[in-house]
Subunit: 421 residues, 2 copies
């Protein structure tokens, strides 16, 4: 007998009608002879509505109470779905995160799962029940307080449960058909990928793909849980994300897709005195201010120049804090000034073993040049090439790269190393 | 240091503004130097709204899931109130019923509190915090399921917590000033009682007074918890409900008030054969059908009649089931027919040691006769006299009794036994 964990996001349960549809899908899976554990997010905008309520009460709602407030959202969607499933004739019961044995760290609003002890879930499964677990929440054992997880928390709950239950697969139902070779909204010819390895999926997520949160992929990889990303609207198989060997780099090079991210901003520290670990100090200052630094470049105007500019990219909402943190170090480090620029976008090409194909980077640069995209910053890794460019040039860049690397083709394309294309 | 448990009902927290007002009252109590535990109901109509949601999902929502759904309501109101209290500078934390150690029986929707283990509450109090506990809910230890209590569940939660914590008083905040000698809406001269004994309060609740649920008073009496019924709108002291000695019947007789109840219906079984415990069988049949029988009268048309009519009163919503249950026994018991009548009201005079004053019953009957109220059924106990009459006559009956027994007076009146008034 196969054990399947299914996770449905807020958009999949945003209305009573949708909740009933989810119930039908769950029962259908059950009738195929599988054990089913369901993780639901809160209905549609419930969490936002609860946040509005909290804001009306308090300008800065206390995080602990905010978590207590938020967790009511999943309670509601789970209880309603359990009722709908029971009405379809299948035994079911809903469990809160703590009841399901989801234990987390103590950070309210951004807790991490430390352990899942699914005794209760297993017991209910053994009684022949479909078990619904409230996602996005858990219990911190030290404080006995209820916590909520960070972004992608329901995905993480489902993946952690699948790992603890040794489930055969964790199905993540969303409002897209799966993982595409690029955002279909800007690349009509984007291809639905039937399989993506953990490595590539992590890079895709880090590069701006919104299908799965980066942390969720990291959890799945760590625990070796195969993920099936599917649409809750149709019956398409979607995309499998796993550590299947054929993605470990058997071929010299294999391109997964093109991702883009408009959420970053560029910050430049001008005239940083040479040496003395000034760069390290600056990066540390920004990091301590909560800034997640993505790309860093140090460039001296002239080889003999004693001063250089330090440029890095971080999420736009982190810029203000970063600027303040940098300003505080100015007297000590003696740089000239700081400037920032939010009108930038990041375009990334993701694939395995790209350095094995030297032609890849060349083709990448030639392609962007051909469509007039000016590369402001570039960084490469074994499985990713990213560039920073003007926001207005992102779409052209993504489309050009998608075509240049044969991603429009129906068959996954091998990049012929050194072919000079 | 005094420990006070305060309970606020749904109407006291029906809006963000009201939640803030409750927070101010709680903090004010705290600033008087008291430890405070707060029990909140769900905001206004939350529970009804959740029930509507459930009904849209399922014609007969499963009780277990309904409880899981409902408990989100108190979670929300408690978290919001805790935020508001923190914003007023007082440390506070909200706890779910299970976190607060409220353990119940297993009946979903109507569970009873079996034990309160307030370790966590005590710990938070010792940390100097105001503790908010979600009312109306608990945990059944055998099933590890969340349950909700029956009617008056939040009051019961507060009283049980007060008992477990050995609190000095349990303040029940509501939308009336306290317990009146009659319903002020129909008796303008009704007097606010500064004190009512457990006995009398139980009878008042049983006789239709809606201020406190009967079960709550029974809990308070069993655990000896003094209750202070107060309005959440003003600063009036309200009514104390306790077992204070001066209510144990020191005076020959003492009238507490007049209560009325329009929720009952009269059911009559005509032509019940004499003897053979037919009456017992009929009452049992109704009770097994869930009917809470209030008054029972067996009257033979003529002394020599072998058949008699059995009349009893039960809540209107229980009539249909009762009629079905009675009908099922007809062939066996051979009675003639069953009739029912919902156009009835019950009027009761409550007081301690009334039988010690034989004049009371006489005055009671004379008073009703004087205003043309026809007594259909009458039952008396040591501390209550109740009659059933036409619905249209209830108001006249209540007003006349209230005046006749000197309840309009500002000082509590002693009924001069045998004075013939």
């Amino acid at each position: 007998m196969v054990l399947i964990v299914q996770k449905y996001g807020g958009s999949s349960v945003h209305s009573i009608e949708r909740v009933k549809q989810v119930a039908e899908r769950v029962v259908a899976t059950r009738h195929e002879g599988h054990d089913v554990v369901v993780v639901l997010s809160a209905m549609g905008d419930t969490t936002d509505e609860l946040l509005d309520l909290a804001r009306k009460i308090s300008p800065f709602p206390h995080p602990r109470e905010l978590d207590m407030l938020f967790t009511s959202g999943e309670r509601i969607s789970n209880a309603l779905a359990a009722m709908a499933i029971r009405d379809l004739g299948a035994p079911a019961c809903s469990l809160s995160g703590p009841q399901a044995g989801v234990f987390t760290t103590a950070e309210y609003g951004g807790a991490q799962i430390v352990e899942v002890v699914p005794h209760r879930v297993r017991r209910e499964l053994d009684r022949g029940r479909i078990v619904l677990v409230a996602g996005f929440q858990g219990l911190n054992r030290d404080t006995d307080d209820i916590t909520t997880l960070g972004r992608g928390g329901s995905d993480t709950t489902a993946i952690a449960l699948a790992a603890a239950l040794k489930a055969d697969v964790c199905e993540i139902y969303t409002d897209v058909d799966g993982v595409y070779s690029a955002d279909p909204r800007i690349v009509p010819s984007a291809r639905l990928l039937d399989h993506v390895g953990y490595d590539a999926m992590q890079e895709m997520a880090a590069a701006g793909s919104r299908v799965l949160a980066l942390r969720s992929v990291e959890y799945a990889r760590r625990w070796g849980v195969p993920i099936q990303v599917r649409s809750s609207y149709g019956d398409k198989p979607g995309t499998t994300v796993s550590g299947r060997p054929d993605d470990a780099g058997a071929e010299p090079s294999r391109i997964t897709g093109v991702a883009h991210d408009l959420s970053g901003a560029k910050v430049t520290v001008h005239g940083v005195p040479d040496g003395a670990g000034a760069v390290g100090r600056l990066v540390r200052a920004v990091a301590d201010a909560g800034g997640e630094i993505d790309m860093v470049v140090r460039n001296a105007a002239r080889p003999d120049d004693a001063r250089a500019d330090l440029t890095f990219v971080l999420p736009e909402q982190g810029v203000a804090a970063a600027l303040a943190a940098l300003d505080a170090t100015r007297a000590e480090l003696g740089f000239e000034r700081v400037s920032h620029d939010a009108d930038v976008g990041k375009v990334s090409l993701i694939g395995t073993g790209m350095r094995a194909g030297p032609g890849v980077t060349a083709t990448f640069c030639e392609t962007l040049a051909a469509v007039g995209v000016n590369i402001e910053i570039m960084s490469t890794s074994e499985i990713r090439i990213s560039v920073l460019c003007r926001t207005a040039q992102v779409v052209d860049a993504v489309r050009a790269l998608h075509t240049a690397f044969d991603l429009d083709a129906t068959e996954e394309a091998l990049v012929h190393a050194g072919s000079g294309r």
